[in-house]
Symmetry: C2
Subunit: 202 residues, 2 copies
């Protein structure tokens, strides 16, 4: 099955602007992508990257400026079967990826914290995506309206997408991959304050 | 194996004070506890509740005013083997609970978002807890220093503890149990705003 990793290449991870410069956001995005690609390969897949602008990574990259919905829906229409895994999931491991492909269902959804859909596997020719808003709700509805057999995987590593400064602590807590190394080299460390753990720059 | 669910019975979930009255916090705490107990029973366990003050629930309750560390460490010293699952995990399901008990390891840890430890199973007589700060780091260290075989489960449902108003959206998105019903009856609904999903009261 074709496995695509979409990446924003032009001005990635804008919500990290309060703590990272534009160059740093690009470097950190590429570090997270490297972790995702390694986990996917470790589970036996051959991922392709589709980016809105060129990105440095160890996989075939297609530059495509369409929005995420148009892009993924064109691929779904073209291929019939498709897996999509987001690029900002640096906690992914090969067993987690295996868990995504394991259920024998037409559509397998991996919810993200906050209502997103961080990955899916579709074996139904008519499944389509809508990433706006609480996309996990839309994707459940789309799959059900097709009469597709739909299931969800229960994975913290798939649920943990890194969008905002408060998400960085998860990387420091749970990653020994490229993204964790990048943050540590950039001077970030865990700070425990009043029961909350944050990543702060020394 | 003995399975304990610790609950704060006196003034529970104070971080939800901005959106819930004291009576509502108690009711919501008991709804989440009901969901946790049902999931544990559904996986074949007989959970016991240990609370700092009496709580309404369908399980044996022991009132014990000791702090969490003292309480759990006394039980660990007494029993040798122990499982602890927090009471604020309303997304738990029987398969998720089975996943916690499945690994053949001395110590199985379930990390919470933000560095907590939302559940554990210990089969090592000398394992002890320290819930302050980023407890998942401490628990990894404690287990390793004992030479115990330690593993972590990858579960979003076990990672999602409900502490703050922003966590309530996860309940509305993913629970059809007592906690989700309680929130909906109390007038909470999902609001999608600028890519973020929140639970707000109508």
């Amino acid at each position: 099955m074709r496995l695509v990793v979409p990446v924003s290449g032009s001005d990635p991870k804008t919500r990290l602007s309060p703590v990272l410069t534009p160059d740093e956001r690009r470097e950190f995005t590429e570090a997270m992508l490297a972790d995702v690609l390694r986990a996917l390969r470790g589970a036996g897949h051959s991922p392709e990257v589709v980016a809105t602008a060129s990105v440095a990574c160890d996989a075939p990259v297609t530059v495509d400026e369409r929005g995420l919905d148009s892009l993924i829906n064109a691929l779904l229409a073209e291929t019939g079967e498709l897996a999509v895994v987001m690029a900002d999931l640096p906690l992914l491991t090969p067993p987690t990826v295996e868990g995504l492909f394991e259920p024998d269902a037409d559509v397998v959804l991996a919810p993200g914290t906050g209502g997103g859909t961080n990955a899916f596997v579709s074996r139904h020719p008519d499944f389509r995506v809508d990433y706006h808003g609480a996309s996990i709700l839309d994707h459940r509805d789309i799959a059900r309206e097709l009469g597709a057999n739909v299931t969800e995987v229960d994975s913290r590593r798939l649920a943990t997408d890194i969008d905002e400064p408060e998400d960085l602590a998860e990387v420091l807590l749970h990653s020994d991959g490229a993204a964790g190394d990048w943050l540590r080299n950039a001077g970030f460390e865990l700070v425990v304050d009043d029961g909350r753990v944050t990543a702060e720059r020394a």
